[in-house]
Subunit: 359 residues, 2 copies
Amino acid sequence: MINFTVGPVQSSDAVRAVGAEQVPYFRTAEFSKLMLENERLVKKFAHTTEDSRVVFMTCSGSGGMETAIMNCLTKQDKALVINGGSFGERFVELLTLHEIPFSEIKLEHGKALKPEHLDPYEGKGYTAFLLQKHETSTGVHFDIKLVSDFCKRNNCFLIVDTISTFLADPFDMADLDAGVMITGSQKALACPPGIAVIALAPSALKRIENNKCRCQYLDLKLALKNQERGQTPWTPAVGVLRQINVRLKEIDTAGGDKYEIERTAHLAQYFRDKLKEHNLPFEIISESLSNAVTPLHPKTQSAFEIFLKIKDEYGMWICPNGGDMKDTVFRVGHIGYLSEADYDKLIEAFLDLRKKGFI
Amino acid sequence: MINFTVGPVQSSDAVRAVGAEQVPYFRTAEFSKLMLENERLVKKFAHTTEDSRVVFMTCSGSGGMETAIMNCLTKQDKALVINGGSFGERFVELLTLHEIPFSEIKLEHGKALKPEHLDPYEGKGYTAFLLQKHETSTGVHFDIKLVSDFCKRNNCFLIVDTISTFLADPFDMADLDAGVMITGSQKALACPPGIAVIALAPSALKRIENNKCRCQYLDLKLALKNQERGQTPWTPAVGVLRQINVRLKEIDTAGGDKYEIERTAHLAQYFRDKLKEHNLPFEIISESLSNAVTPLHPKTQSAFEIFLKIKDEYGMWICPNGGDMKDTVFRVGHIGYLSEADYDKLIEAFLDLRKKGFI
């Protein structure tokens, strides 16, 4: 099977080789060293300030989103959140559950964020801003510079979900003055799922220090305290953390985040060019594309039927959408261990489906 | 390295082979089928009632403990908890954090639970009971029959942490009328860490239905709803779940939980006999042993120094203790992919340390 979804994605041979090893005991100096190296490399690739911190939580990316909210926001905040798809909707659900006062900027699926969307909220006392830098469900890459500038002007604490865009599109946490960056092990980090990675600027560390987290398992005070010595309060997904280590060093050796972003951008462009070249009956639905994924509306067949066909008859996974986008949108990912040759096979499958009159 | 800790433990070749594979996309009928098979086999080995359910949460065992408390208990409960070591202490912390009224039966490290410990709480209106069936930190295997009988007489909802004892010692959830059983992927399930397995009796399902969980990520209503079709609300540790599937089927083919428990009991007895045979300067500190681990107090050297020596000079991990037991207790585990020959090597190392005057 070739995997073009947006996670779990394909891992490199070196990462898979670690998966075959016995998982070592981890309350050791050896594992602590590895964890501190993981922290150092994530800080480097996220371009954090020197006094920022990184923790690794054994949970999904959504668990990471909730962790950020539970630890960094309080009922005294007044938050602004971009809701442009399933993951924006999840932020809304979480803010509601945790009783954080908020306003929601609801964007039509596929639409970009524009200055006029933010204008009404200028100078209105908002204290926090949450968004997906890349709304994975619709493939819209929001203008983070626009949001960052708003936050700087309005003194807003910025929480950025970069789950599917970290290492796929440029991100400079220090320059954007973001408080929190969240990503997951199974996106462009291209490791098995199980770990959420959370980078925390000093502004976040201060909020965490002054807050009481109502969930021990997701308590960042405990995670930060343990990570000082490269440890975790609870048994983490040790295997995945070792794979993350191999992967981060692989990227570092190849040229860092810049290299990985360029590689991903190249694959995305290669696929998009082929789509156009063959005039396939798919419409790109996003006004602002990330390198991570191409979201497509098939004009002649149900998106979910195409997903099933490609899986069952061609041995490849494209990424289906859920909910009300199930029949109208599928996505083709560009993160993970993929090559031009893989896309050639996918394009061939699409051409074959057209020849057969399926699309 | 040979791993005698109590988790992560050593995995079988078949489980490791899955670790080397690419992690597949999981929103598929194929993965759903695997998850439903996992549920069926855990129910079988835990001897649940037919109408019980099992969910798989991407978190540590401690995350599973907190999940049980957040979803099944409320401020209207009056809980009784056994605190006989680090994990009993964790239950106490969690009940405190979540403001569940409780009384604590504090047992000296190493001491068994006896009827007289429970007598004062008889007929006092307790509604819930929490305990470690096996307090992993001290290696004390509590008398679960005693607790179960108390719960039946007093109409108490029983939450059992079987994290390190599931598949190592007998457990019959239906017979004990337990409401919740919690275990983890990295104990006798002998897979990498990352998944907490939670079995829920109908009494638990009813409590969950009537409760509002204050954490979306750990919300069992969502987990149960998704598991109806073999799915999870958030991206789970797909790789570990596939390894659990291979492992559960391995156990099933070999003869089920009975076989695995006997195998573990045999290894534990083999090691304990050898200790005695060679008159090693270690004292077993538990009044009531589990098959999962042998907790030892070294009479002639710091436990932590022995751990380091065995790791650095003999290439084996025994299990160190933390906190105030750091220098006085180490543990030797019997769960995971271990053989008599492995124990022969450990005994040889101990004999060598004695010859050198280190112990």
